[in-house]
């Protein structure tokens, strides 16, 4: 999607031998900046490259403005130019709101979002109520009229979530794919907050950098302190269609558990996606493990182990003999929002869980042990 | 469509070394050479399964011959254009149109836009009160009568009927035959296959009687007795 009347003069099909300097993020793998020269010859960060879902090649290149667009002799993938005239970034996912809020407490730079019912951020709700942020709906359909009349400077989506058809007005809305959900490391996921900062301006990028650095620093210190001699065996996942589904060894949850000084039983089963294990195999793994971790949505009273067993008969089979289950209840904690942007607190939560009663956190933990 | 004047000339249906049947099956009847000519009722009789329906449909040009030709007035039917075929021959199936929701007047309007002419004909056939009824809501007997009226309205020299009275009660059958006789009086050519031939015994409008027997087609005496016809099939 291209904004602007002129296409760069050159761009022979594919024969681009120029070498560029890139600024890559510390941990994240899904994006990087390409250093271009501005008209005065200075190196500026005016161009962001986002990879495809396999993280193999650049799928989208985003330019701050049309000057940057024209100064790139070798553009790759789909080219998007941000809309400087509009104010604010529109989001599709609650995670993206959190990645904005991580460095922008008041969400000044949030134009609005879709599926607002899923957003748990208090600040976001205030902005919506005050009318400072727009509700773009989404259920059952996106409010295209709102998109036209309140156009954001960028619309951040997952690659699958593009609500825009090919009407002429859609060319004025820059679509930015955000791939934080594919990052294998929790810090990598959080580092996408820098992208949101960059989408606004350099000052915001600086704020995002600072916010992330603090998160990374805390994460690292907690990680080092959590090293154990004999890590406890932990598994996650749930039963679906008669099989056990759990994140694979390269998923972010695996990294998180390992960094918390635990041993993830599926570590050797590689892949970022879910692994599927026959239930019979799972029975032995489950019972011998030290603890079982779960993310679920349970509203009402505090969930207990007996209630968990009632939810599905087969939970009884995989329950560890130790009867230790730790659960993140998404109805009570913004697991998909705020906690994505704060992997340091998540790590602290996990290490604290296994520390025993001597550990306490400043804020309400997300993962908690289930009572009987 | 001017009425009966054009029907006074003698029309001919010829079978020329004709074999009839269905694809993939053995021929039902083979190597027939025969001729039906002139206004009047041409009756075709035969036992069940002898091929009456297949024969009459092939003669009507509604089914392809397995071999040989069907000729109308000397022309190969397969080469006659569809519009000319439609203006030359009307057909009444043995099964009434149980799936058509068309009302009687809508069905008849397909041939005759003049509602008055249609009403007159309906009255003549004692169907006067039926014109708003759907074909599928009529009893089989009534529906077949409507189909006959439709065929008449098609205003063709030939009307071919395949077991038209299969669903009729006795009284209706007699009515049907007298109606067919009335048509013949106006110069129409009627070919009909039927089991009712005992009702046609001695009918002066009977032009020919053809029996389908083991050896093919046999011409019987139209003035002959019902028993004599019976003996030949």
């Amino acid at each position: 999607m291209v904004v602007g009347c002129q296409v760069p003069a050159e761009n022979p099909n594919g024969s681009c031998d120029l070498a560029f300097k890139y600024l890559s993020p510390e941990v994240a793998q899904g994006f990087r900046w390409k250093k271009l020269s501005d008209p005065e010859g200075r190196e500026v960060l005016s161009c962001l490259e986002v990879f495809n879902v396999a993280f193999e090649e650049v799928a989208t290149t985003i330019y701050r403005d049309s000057v940057a667009f024209h100064s790139d002799p070798c553009p790759k993938g789909e080219r998007v130019v941000l809309n400087a005239a509009s104010r604010g970034i529109a989001t599709l996912s609650t995670t993206h709101v959190a990645l904005l809020e991580a460095w922008d407490d008041s969400l000044d730079h949030w134009a609005g979002g879709a599926f607002v019912d899923y957003i748990q951020s208090g600040q976001a709700k205030v902005c919506l109520m005050k009318g400072e942020a727009v509700d773009y709906r989404g259920t059952p359909e996106w409010d295209l009229e709102m998109l036209v009349s309140h156009p954001p400077s960028a619309l951040c989506i997952y690659p699958f979530g593009n609500p825009i058809n090919d009407a002429t007005w859609s060319a004025t809305i820059p679509i930015v794919p955000i791939l934080e959900y594919l990052e294998p490391h929790p810090l990598g996921r959080a580092e996408w907050m820098k992208v949101f900062g960059w989408l606004v301006d350099d000052v915001s990028l600086l704020q995002a950098n600072l916010a992330f650095d603090e998160v990374a620093r805390r994460y690292e210190s907690i990680r080092l302190a959590a090293k154990r001699q004999e890590p406890l065996q932990v598994f996650t996942g749930s039963v679906e269609q008669g099989e056990w589904h759990a994140p694979g060894g390269e998923s972010f949850i695996a990294s998180l558990l390992e960094d918390a000084g635990l041993s993830y039983v599926f570590q050797d089963r590689l892949g970022r996606e879910n692994v599927r294990i026959p239930l019979e195999e799972m029975i032995e793994i489950g019972r011998k493990a030290d603890a079982w971790g779960l993310v679920l949505h349970h509203s009402g009273s505090e969930l207990t182990i007996s209630e968990l067993l009632q939810k599905d008969d087969r939970n009884r089979l995989v329950l560890p003999d130790s009867r230790r289950v730790f659960v993140a209840n998404t109805s009570q904690c913004d697991y998909f929002g705020w906690w994505v942007a704060r992997p340091d607190v998540m790590l602290e939560n996990l290490t604290c869980l296994f520390e025993g009663s001597s550990c306490s956190m400043d804020m309400e933990p997300c993962f908690k042990w289930l009572a009987e | 469509m001017n009425g009966s004047n054009q029907h006074t000339a003698d029309q001919v249906i010829q079978a020329s070394d004709l074999s009839v049947g269905y694809h993939g099956h053995l021929n039902v009847l083979s190597n027939l050479s025969y001729e039906w000519k002139g206004p009047g009722i041409h009756l075709i009789i035969g036992e069940n399964g002898s091929g009456k329906s297949t024969l009459i449909r092939t003669l009507a040009g509604l089914q392809s011959p397995m071999a040989g030709l069907v000729k109308w007035n000397g022309e190969d039917v397969a080469l006659i254009s569809s519009p000319r075929r439609v203006s030359n021959m009307a057909f009444v199936q043995s099964i009434p149109p149980r799936q058509s929701e068309l009302t009687v007047s809508e069905a008849l309007a397909l041939h005759e836009p003049n509602q008055n002419k249609v009403d007159d004909l309906l009255d003549a056939f004692n169907l006067g009160e039926m014109h708003m009824k759907s074909l599928c809501d009529l009893s089989d007997g009534l529906a077949q009568r409507v189909m006959l009226v439709r065929a008449i309205l098609q205003d063709t020299p030939w009307i071919l009927l395949d077991e038209p009275t299969a669903f009729f009660d006795v009284k209706s059958r007699q009515v049907m035959w007298s109606q067919l006789s009335a048509l013949v009086a106006k110069g129409r050519h009627v070919m009909v296959s039927s089991h009712d031939y005992h009702l046609l015994e001695g009918n002066p409008d009977l032009m020919s009687v053809t029996a389908i027997g083991a050896d093919g087609l046999e011409a019987l005496d139209p003035a002959g007795s019902f028993e004599s016809w019976n003996a030949s099939i």
Binding site: N162, W169, Y181 | M89, Q93, D137, M147
Partner: protein, 342 residues
């Protein structure tokens, strides 16, 4: 077959055919205007003219590029699917046939599932192209085998089985898909008029108009067809040509509509029955125009359900609204059939 609709409404209101047509036109006009006037944006009506200039104002863009295409698409889809359903029901002598019996919708669904669920991902343009290709492939398959089947029941069952096979393949793809992709596919399956642009709505509208004229030109043949194949043939109906034309028209109508809107439920199946409830006429010369109008009307009504009747925060997905409107109608048809068929 049966005709047990009892022409309840017609008798009650004492209206002639032309009266109902006039009323339908008026209702379509009123509903269209209501859709154009109401939306989530406050409109500066004076600036509408700017759309014809070089830089249109916001209100003009909203009106001409969001509201207008949606209304046009609803009308085109309702009319097109209604006509398609009528032709299928007449052709198959079956009151429960619809445009989907020939596998058009499931062919489109299969193609979109392949594109979306295997991660080739795509916006609405890619989905539309995939849907078109899929529905035409399914139709080509049906066309190819239709000559080999004796009897309509065989063709109908073939279409049903094709639907099952394609549906099963889609289920397999769904089981293997990632959550995001699955969600997108589910959204596509809900159907919508809201993804139409002025261009796509215009193209579909044009195709629908052409198809309706073509269908109308066949009205006598369709009437003759109801009386049985042999009788129809004796009245000059060329069965294979009629079959090919109907398959082509179904492809044009259902295929193009599914490409832009996703699989739209019930309009094809229920509209002809609603029309037959409103009028005692059964000749296609009368049924075709009324089916087009009533279909358009139903679509416009359903779209208010999607918009939450303008009152509620969120409505329901299009197919849900249509099914809630359409299913009671089909039930009514079945009940009437059981009680009045002799």
């Amino acid at each position: 077959m049966f005709n047990g609709y009892g022409t309840v409404f017609q008798v009650a209101s004492g209206m002639k055919y032309s009266g109902i047509i006039g009323l339908a036109f008026a209702a379509i006009l009123i509903l269209s205007i209501s859709h154009l006037l109401w939306g989530s944006t406050t409109m500066d009506w004076g600036s509408l003219g700017s759309w014809f200039g070089s830089s249109p104002e916001l209100a003009a863009t909203v009106f001409f590029e969001v509201r207008l295409p949606r209304v046009l698409m609803a009308i085109a889809a309702g009319a097109g699917l209604g006509i398609s359903g009528l032709m299928m029901q007449t052709w198959f002598h079956n009151p429960l046939a619809g445009p989907s019996v020939l596998g058009v919708t499931s062919g489109a669904g299969m193609a979109v599932a392949l594109v979306v669920l295997t991660g080739m991902g795509g916006g609405w343009l890619v989905n539309s192209i995939a849907a078109s290709v899929g529905s035409w492939l399914a139709l080509a398959l049906v066309w190819g085998v239709s000559t080999r089947f004796r009897g309509l029941a065989s063709l109908l069952i073939f279409g049903l089985m094709l639907n099952y096979v394609l549906g099963a393949l889609v289920t397999v793809l769904q089981a293997e898909a990632k959550e995001n992709a699955l969600q997108q596919f589910v959204f596509w399956g809900m159907g919508t008029f809201g993804q139409a642009t002025l261009l796509t709505a215009g193209v579909v509208m044009l195709l629908v108009v052409i198809a309706i004229f073509m269908a109308f030109s066949l009205h006598q043949n369709l009437d003759k067809w109801t009386m049985g194949e042999i009788t129809a043939r004796s009245m000059g109906v060329d069965e294979s040509r009629l079959r090919q034309l109907l398959i082509l028209l179904t492809g044009l109508l259902a295929g193009s509509i599914t490409a832009v809107c996703g699989p739209v439920a019930f309009l094809g199946l229920a509209t002809p029955h609603l029309v037959k409830l409103l009028t005692p006429h059964r000749s296609h010369r009368r049924l075709i125009p009324m089916t087009a109008l009533i279909g358009a009307l139903l679509a416009l009504v359903a779209d208010w359900g999607v918009k939450g009747l303008g009152v509620f925060e969120g409505g329901w997905p299009l197919n849900a609204v249509l099914s809630l409107l359409g299913a009671p109608m089909v039930i009514w048809v079945l009940i009437k059939r059981n009680f009045t068929h002799s």
